[in-house]
Amino acid sequence: MYSNFQQSEEDIRQEVNLKIFVFICVCIVAFSILLIRLLQLQYFEYENNLKRAEENRIRKVNIKANRGLILDRNGVVLVRNRPSYQISLMYSGFKNKEIRDSVFERLLKIKDSNGKRLLDSAMLSFSFERGRWQKFRFQRLIEDAAPEIVALFEEHSEELPGIEILVESRRDYPFGMYGAHVFGYTSEISEQELELPENAHYVMGDRIGKKGLELSYEQEFRGNNGLRFVEVNAMGREMGIVEGMPFIAPISGNSIVTTLDWRLQKVAENAIPEGLKGAIVALNPQNGEIYAMVSRPPLDPNIFSLEKRELHKAWASVALDTAKPLTNRAISGLYPPASVFKVITAAAGLEANTLSEYTRYKSCGGGLRFGNRYAKCWLARGHAVLNVVGALRESCDVFFYQAGLDMGSERIGDMGRRFGLGSKLGVDIPNERSGLLIDSASYEKWFEKKGWKWSAGEILNIAIGQGALLVTPLQQTVMVGTLAAGNGLYKPHFLKEIVSPEGELVRKIEPEKIGEGKVSERTRNIVLKGLYEVVNAPNGTGRRAIVPGVTVGGKTGSAENPHGDKTHAWFVAVAPLDKPEIAVGVVLENAGGGGAMAAPIAQKVLDAYFNPLTSTAVTE
């Protein structure tokens, strides 16, 4: 019976029918079991499963990458990150209306230590209304909450379902206002910015660099955000990450090592007398590395991390302030170059051979008659007869009036352009301005709208750095420094190195030569002699810039301006004169004479640079 190969057709048919019957029975049994199970899940346990489906959710959470740091050239951390606590609302955390209403009432009653209400009802209803539409999104109630407020909410977390404390990273400035104009700030990315294609990898709520280095090197600082999937319970609380779902670890942003020398920056920050407006720039003219940059009035970068309403208030107060604390005067402030510009006039004349070290012009008796105009010298009693070195030393206007008339405005303009005036130098923070370098060729084009015509008298103004000329403190410093160093025009910059979060060097920045920036050795030596005597000769205008142990050269300036009685005080110093390694430019708005007001400030910075151990400014 086990090997019956000779079955009849009828036997086979019966056997096949039986087997088909068995197969169908197995199908029916298996499908019935499955259907019973489905009925169990979908009918008998429906309510329970529906509840779980609504409660039991996966949330996609962005893990924000740590933002890179800003360091000075010696590794001092200038800008870092701190945790910031956000009191937030997750509407799905309210199980029912009663709980929602009681949480609303409780929130209204929460007061800080001064008895002031933390949340007002209008703002709270707005957040609750928004939460109703976005049940699974956090609505921020208190931004960047103070530690005592966080403690308060933690204490009451049991009574406040749906209220959570989120931790974000914000910028922290260990040195307060110092360097604020250079660093810039970060703030939440705006909706317009989010729509830009280059910002595709940002999400709502990300913070992005808005000014200064934070903006320039956003791509370095940013890093890459990570991603994880977490399971949240009915209260919206995270229960842990979900295995088997993608997890992308965040990659911290790169840090930048700046060219700043924080020691000098601190000295410069402290050097400007309280209440004065102005700027200081210290840089190395040999390669363009900026050591220090100060702008006054100061800006508190911490206001950009404030809670939104406070931020609006603080923002309004700085934005509407007529002193314009938001402006980085070192790169965006435009001033007449004043007598500092005389080095350009002198160099132009010497290069064009309309002037030599032996040239003597008409004696200065306190002014020069030109046509029907009497152009005064700053020294009413006059300087008598001087050569070019003496004219630089004592800043004799009458000498340069005549020198200017001799050579013409184009030569002055050419010389100015050669040392970076009249155009942006390309410093690596935004909002640099180009200033204005005018000669007879560009004058009428520039002032076409006003209908002004070039007149030969204009050259008198230009020769002494007044009139239509405008420079930024950075340009002024670069100009004098480059002329003195005689080594070419370098792009001023802050970025020295980019380093990875692990501290490895990613990229080193080489100095970038942006112009020849040169005059003949003979011309340079005459100008250097002038700069030397300004500081070191008994009757020099910049004697207050003397630093023991080093040869300082410099040039004073006192810019006439329509904003006040007093002149803007200018001083640009270079040292050591034989081989300049630092140039310091100082401008103080409406502070008076450059020699009296600005030179001592430059002196403090130079002293700190050359005598770090004995300098009083450093030890202060």
């Binding site: 086990y2 090997s3 190969f5 057709e9 086979i12 048919r13 096949v16 029918n17 087997k19 088909i20 068995v22 197969f23 169908i24 197995v26 199908c27 029916i28 298996a30 499908f31 079991i33 499955l34 259907l35 199970r37 489905l38 009925l39 899940l41 979908q42 009918y43 346990e45 429906y46 329970n48 499963n49 529906l50 779980r52 489906a53 609504e54 039991n56 959710r57 996966i58 999937f229 842990g240 979900v242 295995e243 088997g244 779902m245």
Partner: protein, 403 residues
Amino acid sequence: MKKIDWVFMGSLFALIGIGIMLVYSATSNTDLVWYHTEWFKQIIHFAAGFIIAAIIVFLPSKSWKNIAWISYAISIIALFLVVNSGHISKGAGRWLDIAGFRFQPSEFAKIAYLMVSSLWLSRNRVSIVQPRTLLIPGLLFIVPFLLVLKQPNLSTALVFTVITLVHFYWAGFRLMDLFLFISPVASIIFSTMGLVPWSLLIIGVFFVSVRFKFPLWFIILVMTVDISSGYASQIAWNTMEDHQRSRILTFIDPMRDPKGQGYQVIQSQVAIGSGGMFGKGFGAGSQTNLAFLPEEHTDFIFSVLGEQFGFAGTLVVLALFFVLLLRGISICKLYPDSFVNLMVAGICATLFFHVVVNVAMTVGFMPVTGLPLPFLSYGGSFVLTCMIFVGLLINLRLKGKDI
């Protein structure tokens, strides 16, 4: 020549339509251009599948006998290649790249094995008490089985096992023969459940073999193999490391690991259950839309169905599968030829096994094995396999007489 079975075709098209719809709803929120989307690719898969099925239908039924051995040989070689140098996908080497196409040789090995086993067993019947009749079919089975197992792809290996059992049943085994045949495996499984179930099994085996007058040597052999395999598995179990044991337990019962494998199953059950009687509506499944199921458009497509169309939807789909299998197996009644019978029974059993194991997995009845749901799950190779099965069924129905 028989007419086309319109009930069969109707069920088939209904299932394919539902499948594409579900793949669409499970993947439409991935923000790709439409021709990169999974649902569009799935339509392409089916279009290719229909062309192949049509070609198969127009070929003479004899061809399957003619190509059986050669295709079996080729698929063994392909399996051998993939085991040694396969493309690693999710840790399992299952794919082979040929001329820019990625395909799973194990899918086509199923078809080849089906044909060669049908061919052999149509000429040589098997009997459990005549072991030499089992030698060749056993060899034909064990080679692809081991190669697929080594990939490792347990679920497809089980498909080979199912084809083999059904073929043995069709080619001479009775139900009790099958029972005794698989009793050693049952003994291994039961021995882990405790002494009482295992003892009951052994007593059952003894009772059946004595009651149906099996030869003495056979009774002794079966009892020896059953008892020793039970003991061996006990010893192996006890000498295992804890983590190995827990891996096996988790495979059997995913709920033991609610954060890992169990997580998918729990979420799948919640998705199906929350669909209720009539579902949340097309595209409205919150579980699906939140994309919590990692493989929702492939292995867990049934959960998408359950959530969006409720019990009504799952009932309709299971009914369609039932009709499809019923109409398929009924081909056996048309022709007495045993090759046609074995082919049809093997195909129907394979489809049935896929459906039951996949649905049982989504409702938490079975381990997560990765067997897709025919006509509904996304995936090129599997769609092609299913459409080849369909083409073979239609071909055998129309031309089975000429064999």
